[in-house]
Amino acid sequence: MGTVRFICKSFRMLLKIQFIQLSNFYFVFLAVCFTYLGSYTFIYFLMKKFNTVLDWNLYHVTFVFAVYQISFGITNLIMSQFKYFSDYVHRGTLDILMIRPMSLFLQIIMRGCEFVSLGNIAVGVFLVVMVTKPLEIEWSAIQIFKFMLLIVNSSLFIGGIYLIGATMSIYIINGKEVRDLLVQTLQNYLIYPKEAYERWIQAVLVFSLLYFVTNKPAQWFLGIADSWNAWSVILGLPFFLGIYGIWNFCLKSYTGAGN
């Protein structure tokens, strides 16, 4: 009960803080939309020039990109504070949070929401709407359920990647670099079929589970046959829980960094 009250109060406060400078929020929201539509421009131009990459066309690639944008937006909205986990370690904020009688995970989440990530979600939804007709997606109840499953799965994967960055920040380096590497690879390169890359790269991308974040589940949604596609959509939860467990375990050996 106390936890629910904590979440509600924190969320109300975060909303209040966010909307104090409403015009700034709108500007940043538009900037986010523009930036990610800008990234999409390159994909659009390339696919218009080459027509296909293996047997995928512009709409397949756009759909995977859109799924990534929506999932990334949701994760960023909820777990944005894990992006700054290394700052928590360096400044000693983590030490203060750890001695409070409340879940550390929840405390970090409720310290901030990046509402401007609604921009990513807006871009993603816009692109999904654009490809609905060319890909002949019919939004029946089952398809909507499958799409939601797809988004939740991808969001959990990306959340897990945020936690990997946070875990690395406890020990070695600024985990931001690792997280950015994975996130940028996902956005710019893993929206194409894996066969576009050499075999050893394919193996690395599949075994590191990166292809299971958005690409394989999106193929499952679009009905592209592959023995792994159906499984990929339920891997997000165990991945997230596994990384969450490791993060918790690593926190036990955390000795404090602040003053």
Partner: protein, 265 residues
């Protein structure tokens, strides 16, 4: 002479501070190599599957991607630096310096750019020499013209960035402006993919804007896709854009210094 010593010191400081965070440096280098590798493989697949005749060969595209690493001017920190100095009040000290503010900023950015070339671009090009087939400059004279054009393109990008950065005197939060301008610069300059992949109509317009002179044109010189006789005109166009952007920046600066309100200090 003092100016050259200052530039040298800025490059040295920038390089040393960058290399001080070794794990971060190695990870950054790994990331650049990985992205380059994935880009090249993606283009190989795209080229192998297309039946249409394109205006550039695969090797030219691969060369473009590798050589464009010399022209990565897009993460300039001018905006952040000006903003933080306005907020902290340090801008007041900067205004008292016996050098023009744009020159002061230019030297810092130049140092950061050279540091990036030495620590990131050269290792990438050396690695690419071992594993990837790409073209050397078409001739020694084209190579020298490429270097000259690259220096001019750095100035174009600096002044374009500087003009936008001066908005810090009016706007307190610049994240959105920075993000939009960086995205625009990258799209318009051909930094991510060559402009020859853009639709013809868009490319024809972009070839007149200053941004295409920042990345696309210098690499076209490197590749020998521009005739030697046309190069003086190209350099002239670059110089004209530098002059225009410099004049705009002087105009904004004159307005900004009259309006300045120093917080803190």
């Amino acid at each position: 002479m003092g100016g050259i010593t200052y530039v040298y010191k800025m490059i040295r400081i920038s390089l040393l501070s960058h290399l001080a965070l070794r794990s971060s440096y190695y990870l950054g280098l790994f990331r650049e190599c990985l992205f380059l590798l994935l880009s090249i493989q993606l283009f190989r697949t795209l080229y192998s599957g297309t039946g249409t005749v394109l205006s550039a060969t695969l090797t030219e595209t691969v060369t473009y991607i590798i050589i464009s690493k010399f022209a990565q001017f897009f993460n300039m920190s001018t905006m952040g630096r000006i903003q933080s100095r306005i907020i902290s009040g340090e801008i007041a000290t900067d205004l008292l310096r016996p050098v023009e503010y744009d020159f002061f900023m230019l030297v810092q950015e130049f140092g950061a750019w050279i540091q990036r070339i030495l620590s990131i671009t050269f290792p990438i090009v050396l690695l690419s020499l071992l594993f990837v087939r790409f073209y050397p400059p078409s001739s020694i004279s084209y190579g020298l013209c490429f270097v000259l054009s690259l220096l001019l393109s750095f100035l174009i990008m600096f002044f374009a960035n500087y003009c936008v950065s001066l908005a810090a005197f009016w706007i307190p939060y610049l994240w959105s402006l920075n993000s939009v301008s960086t995205t625009l610069f990258i799209i318009l300059s051909g930094a991510m993919i060559p402009l020859w992949f853009y639709p013809d109509g868009i490319r024809n317009v972009l070839e007149w804007l200053p941004f295409s002179f920042a990345v696309y044109m210098p690499i076209n010189i490197y590749l020998g896709r521009i005739a030697m006789a046309e190069l003086p005109i190209l350099f002239l166009k670059q110089a004209v854009w530098i002059l225009i952007l410099w004049l705009i920046s002087r105009f904004i600066w004159s307005k900004a210094t009259k309006k300045i309100i120093v917080n803190g200090g």
